[in-house]
């Protein structure tokens, strides 16, 4: 009678050691570092004012610090170092955005009054806050929201205008704004994977130019 071999107990995976993290950094390829760099830039554009002056470099540093101090643990047998770091970059950017949402009235997030003030032909400076009698926190928040919305409207219009003669890019941009994702748009408009990726690269370049210019 054949005896069924007892399977070896599965080894519980362990968080990577400092030495393994050090090795992973040294082994990062150009493709890896580009993914980290471009992701961090994308997230900084996404959270905009919530970044509060922090750059994509700060975002990468913060993400890596959390891996080192054990706040986030990397299991090398589950995910690559690059994908893990990119995930932590996403989560910190969301955290920054959440903090801003909850603390819009904090001075570090509010636009300087001087930036919103206008000087007329007679040299008289008016502030948007002049009209507001003892603003309640809600009124102040609404003003900040309205200002942000106006700024984002201008950016969206600028992006659309930049690609108005690029049919494929326009389809993607409109689809995204409408809540569709890449596969859904591709299926609806019969766009090949290659066409999609090439168009996305064009949009990425254009958006980066506009976002960098607008900062």
């Amino acid at each position: 009678m054949k005896v069924k071999p007892t399977p070896l107990p599965a080894r519980k995976s362990q968080p990577a050691t400092r030495g393994e993290i050090d090795e992973a950094i040294k082994a990062l390829t150009q493709e890896d570092t580009e993914r980290i760099e471009q992701t961090a830039m994308n997230r900084i554009y996404r959270v905009r004012r919530a970044a509060n002056g922090r750059s994509h470099k700060d975002l990468i540093q913060e993400a890596f610090t959390r891996i080192l101090d054990g706040t986030r643990q990397w299991y090398k047998d589950r995910v690559s170092f690059t994908d893990f770091l990119v995930g932590v970059v996403y989560s910190i950017a969301s955290e920054w955005a959440g903090h801003r949402k909850r603390n819009k009235e904090l001075p570090e997030y509010a636009l300087l009054e001087s930036a919103l003030s206008k000087t007329d032909e007679d040299g008289k400076t008016t502030s948007p806050f002049d009209e507001v009698q003892e603003p309640s926190p809600n009124a102040e928040e609404e003003l900040i929201d309205a200002e942000g919305e106006a700024e984002n409207k201008a950016l969206v219009e600028k992006i659309e205008a930049a690609f108005e003669h690029d049919e494929k890019a326009s389809i993607l941009l409109m689809g995204f704004q409408d809540g569709m994702d890449g596969p859904a748009i591709r299926a609806e408009f019969g766009m090949s994977e290659k066409e999609y990726r090439t168009t996305m690269r064009r949009i990425q370049r254009g958006v980066r130019k506009m976002m960098d210019h607008g900062r």
Partner: protein
């Protein structure tokens, strides 16, 4: 296609989120191409990102070492300030220490490894070790010789 009720903040967020997903999933060679098209050198980015990560790594390691060193110094300071009823003479303290090693020989490597020869331990070393042992409660479990 765009819904009239959506804010422009949401619309911009959707564009950027889809771009983010594209970056996360795009083949590596396309990311390199994007970088070159934007006028960036992927080799320079590689060096820069690695150096950012390695510098965080190094400063984190140094911070750990500094904290461990400070903790050790605090512990030594605390022990030296604490009052222990040790023998008044150096010879008496040496006899106590000898008694510890005879009755708890498993402790000997901890002291001899660092100092090679027991006889090479200074009076000061003996006193510090006895204070540590007292602090750990080891001395309570040892029959200590009377001071002459």
């Amino acid at each position: 296609m765009a819904g009239k009720t959506d804010s422009h903040t949401e619309r911009l967020a959707r564009i950027l989120d889809n771009l983010g997903e594209h970056i996360r999933n795009a083949p590596g060679d396309e990311l390199l191409e994007t970088a070159r098209e934007e006028g960036r050198d992927p080799a320079e980015t590689n060096t820069r990102i690695k150096s950012i990560l390695l510098s965080v790594f190094k400063s984190h390691q140094q911070k750990g070492l500094v904290e461990a060193k400070q903790g050790h110094q605090r512990e030594l300071a605390r022990i030296s300030e604490e009052h222990f009823n040790l023998p008044k003479t150096a010879e008496g303290r040496r006899n106590w220490f000898r008694a510890v090693l005879v009755q708890a020989p498993q402790l000997e490597p901890a002291f001899t490894l660092q100092n090679r020869e027991l006889s090479a331990l200074s009076d000061e070393d003996i006193e510090t070790h006895l204070k540590k042992l007292a602090n750990l409660g080891v001395l309570n479990a040892i029959r200590l010789p009377e001071e002459e």
